[in-house]
């Protein structure tokens, strides 16, 4: 077999060209790809290292939105105090990824493209309404995060197409988010269930909009509109939280595996949705008019 090649294009156009070649794979942090190579599950023929492409390497907080380049390492996100203030849930999900060493390389973009049903950052991105910007031979397109994964390990990316980054709308005043996951230990494990919740409140503390997303309970992330609807109009009272939890449990379509039975996961999905909603409400109230 011909030797593998390594390319580090500095432009999106060149990266798209390279990705059209047989066996080409995007290399961002490499924390999934290189592990897959070692086990023989991936045999890249062309490594397209995208970390030298400015759009993919940029983390930039604008007036209306955050640009999160697909190859920005988790560590850079976790270090940003301003990003943590505006999107604490997204940052806590990012900070759950692996060890310090892994966070030095692993990217949120890679976490999404790897398309594990249990990816921690995916429900958190859905909760904050992040949009995926993709580029390919037919130009640019944008889809909401919840439409990006299409199954375990599968995404909407077409041949020669890559994820460039995320557009994340800046939350208004009195809005915040939270992400919780359950694992049987304290660190570095794969989610049994994950729940991301974002809420926005009016001046009286009443919820005007909400988003609830679950991970590890279906082949892809589940956005639970019924749970969000249960929160809207409430002030985070116990009855509204219980209704949201029940909706989350109903929306979960988990499998049974070594991490938990389907029944257990359905139950935990509700518990985590309720707790994440509680945290999001508390943070949104504390946020006052500061955003």
């Amino acid at each position: 077999m011909e030797q593998a090649r390594y390319e580090a294009p500095s432009s999106l156009g060149r990266a798209i060209e390279l990705l059209g070649q047989p066996g080409a794979r995007v290399l961002a942090g490499g924390t999934d790809l290189l592990v897959q190579m070692r086990s023989g599950r991936a045999v890249p023929r062309v490594f397209v290292d995208v970390k030298r492409i400015p759009e993919l390497a940029r983390l930039e907080l604008g007036r209306d939105e955050l640009w999160l380049g697909a190859a920005v390492p988790a560590a850079a996100i976790v270090e940003s105090a301003e990003v943590a203030r505006l999107w604490p849930g997204l940052v806590e999900a990012t900070d759950l990824i692996g060890s310090t060493q892994i966070q030095g390389r692993a990217s949120v973009g890679g976490n999404l493209c790897n398309a594990s049903p249990a990816a921690d950052t995916t429900p958190a991105l859905c909760a904050v309404g992040a949009l995926c910007v993709m580029a390919g031979p037919n130009g640019e397109r944008v889809v909401p995060v919840e439409r990006f994964p299409t199954g375990p390990g599968a995404t909407v990316l077409g041949p020669g197409e890559l994820l460039v980054g995320f557009r994340i709308p800046r939350p208004p005043a009195r809005a915040s988010d939270a992400y919780l996951r359950f694992i049987p230990r304290t660190e570095m494990d794969i989610a049994v269930v994950g729940a991301g919740v974002a809420v926005a409140l009016d001046a009286s503390g009443r919820c005007t909009s909400a988003r609830v997303a679950l991970g590890a309970v279906a082949p892809t992330v589940v956005v639970v509109t019924e749970a969000a609807a249960a929160l809207v109009g409430s002030r985070g009272e116990a009855a509204a939280l219980a209704a949201a939890a029940e909706a989350a449990s109903r929306a979960a379509r988990p499998i049974s595996d070594k991490r938990g039975t389907a029944e257990y996961r359905r139950r935990v999905a509700g518990v985590l949705a309720r707790r994440a909603a509680t945290a999001a409400f508390e943070r949104a109230r504390a946020h006052g008019a500061t955003a």
Partner: protein, 159 residues
């Protein structure tokens, strides 16, 4: 055909030849003969191959060697100043924070990166930061004590 890579290792220019899929760990050990960086798992789980790449702590086993082109790499070999040990190395000796020693270079490199960012970590912060470094002789307690003692010494505090 081999790739020719120019990089900087421990402050000195370095060049090597590698194949596209070769890891930085492999090149450090086999081409540059810097064998202080150890291979444990080769899948990013154990931290024995911890190095600092462009200021970020990473596992050298999960970096492709050609990625190092034009970047800076810091390894365990750059930690001591000649014969003079780094305070972390000295404290690891004093606290007997090692048994077989295979995990030690990774722990020292990772702990140094911690103390450069946070000169006064709590025990919990140190334990979380070092959670990606595994020690199978079960020496964590001594390791954490050595790290916190080093931090205190570097801050000029007697513990």
């Amino acid at each position: 055909m081999k790739l020719h890579v120019s990089t900087t290792v421990n402050g000195e220019p370095a060049e090597f030849l590698c194949s596209a899929e070769q890891s930085l760990l492999d090149v450090l050990r086999e081409e540059l003969h810097l064998t202080g960086t150890k291979e444990g798992c080769a899948t990013g789980d154990c931290g024995a191959c911890s190095v600092v790449l462009d200021g970020r702590l990473v596992c050298a086993c999960l970096v492709l060697a050609p990625e190092a082109a034009g970047r800076t790499v810091e390894t365990i070999e750059g930690v001591a100043k000649g014969a003079e040990l780094h305070p972390l190395q000295q404290k690891f000796l004093e606290h007997a924070a090692l048994q077989c020693g295979v995990c030690t270079p990774g722990f020292i490199v990772a702990a140094k990166a911690l103390l450069e960012r946070n000169p006064d970590p709590s025990e919990e912060e140190a334990r979380y930061w070092l959670a990606g470094n595994l020690c199978r002789c079960t020496g964590y307690d001594k390791i954490i004590r050595a790290v916190l003692d080093t931090a205190a010494e570097l801050r000029g505090v007697t513990r």
